[in-house]
Amino acid sequence: MSRSKHAVELCALLVDETYGELTSRIFTILLRRGRLPITLLAQHTRLSPRQLRHGLVVLLQQNLLFYHTDIDSGLTHYEANHDAAYALIRSGKILNIVEERFGEQSRDVVQNLLLLGHTKVADLTAAYEAQKPTSNGHSNGHSATNGVSYTNGDHANGIHDSQVHSTGQLHAILHQLLEAGLIEPVNQIMFTSPTDLYNKVEKELLPAGGTKGIKQKEELRLAIEGRMQALRDQRPDWRAKGNNKRPHNGDGPNGTIKRRRLSNGAVNGNSQYLDESIRLDSELVLRINYEKCNVALRSQSLVSLANQRIGETTSYVYAEVLRLIEPYIPRCRIESEKDSNLFEKANVSTAELSAVMSSSVNVALGIGKASKDKIDTKMLEQASGRKRKANEAEVDSDGDASSDESESDEEMVGAGDDEEDPFAEGQKRKSGQAKVTFQDKPEDRQSRMLQLRNHLMLLAADDRNLLSKCGGGGQGQWTVDFNTLVKHLREIELDNLILENFGRQGHRLARILRKFGKLDEKQLPQHALMKQKDVRTKMVEMQMAGFVDIQEVPRDNNRATSRTIFLWFFDMDRVTAIVLDNIYKAMSRCLQRLEVEKRQANDIITAAERSDVRGKEEEVLSANQMNQLREIRGKEEKLLAQVARLDDLIGIFRDF
């Protein structure tokens, strides 16, 4: 699949930024020219075979290339992997997520994995062993690496107390991450390009006589896709064999397993000492699972949507719901039949939620109060039932749900009182830690559950369908319809764009078109209550930008303007494609600008990176130099933050 010019440009920039010029030269050639065997590659890049091989190794190590060896000729073709190249930009966000969920040590491990590409467990262990004395967790395997990550400008000064202290700990961390799916064992398929894989599978599955007719072809296509997915999912079993001391649920061991305090006293509240006895197969090769990371990123955007639309407390509840559902979702785009079965398991009951919900989030707050007679949840239930049917989602258990509703309606009024101290119970639990034990009385727990339910119902009642109810067990089963939600997310971002670029009127017109589909030019002013002249100006303005378009339907053969109906329309897919391309372009521009800025401040940067200056810049550099350094660091930070924000949009428009 060929990508747009801007996407290619961006990928090349990213590879250049992360792995240096040699690799990016090869990668760019591959991006521009498609798949190439090594001889042609050498010709185009004008590199010596030695350099070329070196570069290819680096690229392969990072899974930036696909390769395919033809069985007959024995010739190997290389092909660029766009997605992996793009994923480089996400590294910062992935690190953030890992740190937030599993603590700093895990983040460190993931960071190493990011830098090293796919790695054997044994090598990773060795790297840590070797590193110990240097106390700097950021070795980078390749000379070309310049170590810029997108979270925090530079990480020259490692966090000293976040080091991994023993091999056992490393294994435990890896185990935890594997459980969560954020890293995955590597298999051969990952180095085969999707097209090659398709061809291969097609060859296997193609019936002897070939296919006839559209229907058979379609069947074959589906079969191939299913098989491809199966092949992709076929991963080496990473669970160490013969080790029956398997920690359950990825939550790590709790109390019963020995904890080792380490001599250097780096005990800081949330760093956890995991079981030393977990040993992974040292031949296992690991890499970051970007697809799963995208799921986590998606959850983040959804939570912020809930926060914006409903409120802070509810968004905490929502975050917890999403986290509970996440293990069932291997990737963001769920399409094939098999996956949707898998999806059905992805629900959570109020009771389950209440058990894991951190007690520091006071669910009694965050919802307004109203007298009982003003509340009637029945209507909501019926309506959501209708909506559900209309959406042709799960049509099951309708009656079940409503009967469950009625019993608790009376108690559901408002939510607790405002005066209660919400902070009494201490910090929010880090998810890696042991489960919160409930010491409260049963009735407290009961009322807490009801308050939780209130939040869940708010989420479900929201216009954007943040949550949908799918059953009555355990005080209500809840699930998330990601496809519609992501569509809403996209719409919101598009609306923002339009609002910002074309003002309130453009925004209004675009939304009208989205609701009505194709609309006659004469109808628009009536719906929008705007002057015909203004409408036309706005529409043309938006048409120039590619956001709306017009279709002419002549009423007779003459095609005279006066006898033609003009229909305006808003094509979501097309606009998304345009916006995506613009975002790619904007991202490359930011990175290019950064390059320019850095070149201008080259002197000061080299000065600051000298080994005798590093870490004590303030002492060595003059005031003037310090200012310059700060200025360039500030700019760098700004530009990278901007790139990261643009990446959020890419996530919404492309990946989620």
Partner: protein, 366 residues
């Protein structure tokens, strides 16, 4: 025609009176009459069709009836004596024009339509119009649907709502000020009823960090909050307080305002003396929804009620500072590229490019 049947002459005059009276009194007077209707009045002896036609023709000649032709055939409509009197003293051309304007009623008629229907010469047409205007029989009017058309209407009646555009138009111009003012009033009303205003500000404080915050973490934190200025200006913290105070109503809340409540509210409020019917309020509500300021909820006695969409923090802040502006924004629109006028041309090595971009210059030195 009348002279040829001399014997029944006197008869016709009285029959004419009787038929006209019957027509006026008939409950279906403005639907028009067919031949059969005349027969049903039973004023014509022996259901003599010829006689009916004669009588009707007489009335038409006296302008007391006028002929129309719809899909179902020819029919007659009744006209009052005063209106009929206006036809006296008109030439046949003027009469034709006047008749067309008359039958167009409150919607008025386009001058071009008159011309094509009457097939009059331009000069004759214009003199007829002028004559009718000076006599005060017709006047020109404007319609909002086609503001450029020259329209005529009988001077005794007012143009219909369709032509004037209803309450939203003043003198044929869309009154945007009025509309947006009303929308703001509605929005504020709905907004006031959509949220619970908490007495204690802030739902949850940031958990206090007991661990030492290293330089890198501090940086990461700052990165997270990079979207807002490091030192919060007063307007921002005020907006944040207000933002955190707005709590959602419990699920199933029934007291969100409904259409009828809102109509009543506008009716009773001093903002406008014009009575706005429910459908016009609905129109405003639809637009508020298109603007993503309010949304429909399923609640209330009517089954549908309205609640305000929660504003973003940025929107609130801008409001506090008294700035008007669009609230939503994202990574693309805030960067120079998102609003760059020459984005399409931008290319490294081209006339404009990232290295010589003045927008970046400005943005980075902020």
């Amino acid at each position: 025609m009348a002279s040829s049947s001399g014997a029944t002459g006197p008869d016709i005059a009285s029959l004419k009176e009787a038929l006209y009276k019957a027509c006026l009194q008939s409950p279906s007077a403005h639907d028009g009459f067919r031949q059969q209707d005349f027969l049903d009045f039973e004023v014509i002896p022996d259901d003599d069709l010829n006689l009916v036609l004669q009588v009707a023709q007489q009335l038409v000649n006296e302008k007391l009836l006028w002929i129309f032709n719809d899909g179902e055939g020819i029919g007659w409509n009744v006209r009052s004596r005063e209106d009929a009197a206006k036809y006296h003293g008109l030439t046949s051309e003027q009469e034709m024009v006047y008749q067309l304007v008359d039958s167009a009623g409150t919607d008025g008629i386009w001058s071009k339509t008159i011309k094509s229907k009457t097939n009059l010469h331009d000069a004759v047409f214009r003199s007829s119009i002028k004559f009718l205007e000076t006599k005060g029989l017709i006047r020109d009017m404007k319609t909002v649907e086609h503001p450029n058309r020259k329209m005529y209407i009988k001077s005794s009646i007012r143009p219909s709502d369709r032509a004037t555009g209803g309450s939203w138009y003043t003198d044929g111009e869309m009154d945007e000020e009025f509309i947006s003012m009303l929308m703001d009033v509605l929005y504020n009303y709905i907004s006031a009823k959509s949220f619970y205003r908490s007495s204690s500000s802030g739902v949850r404080k940031e958990p206090k960090k007991t661990k030492r915050v290293s330089a890198e973490e501090a940086k990461a934190l700052r990165d997270k909050s990079l979207s807002k200025p490091p030192a919060e200006p007063e307007s921002f913290s005020a907006a944040r307080r207000e933002y955190n105070r707005l709590l959602p109503m419990p699920p199933g809340y029934q007291n969100y305002p409904t259409l009828s409540q809102l109509t009543l509210f506008i009716e009773n409020s001093p903002v406008t003396s014009v009575t706005l019917p429910a459908n016009e309020i609905q129109q405003l509500l639809d637009i508020l929804m298109f603007d993503n300021r309010i949304e429909q909820v399923i609640a209330g006695p009517e089954g549908v009620a309205y609640k305000a969409v929660r504003k973003s923090l940025k929107e609130m802040e801008m409001e506090m500072r008294g700035e008007a502006g669009a609230g939503g924004s994202n990574g693309l629109t805030e960067a120079p590229c998102g609003r760059c006028p020459v984005f399409d041309l931008c290319e490294e090595g081209g006339p404009v490019g990232p290295s010589n971009c003045e927008y970046f210059e400005e943005w980075l030195s902020l």
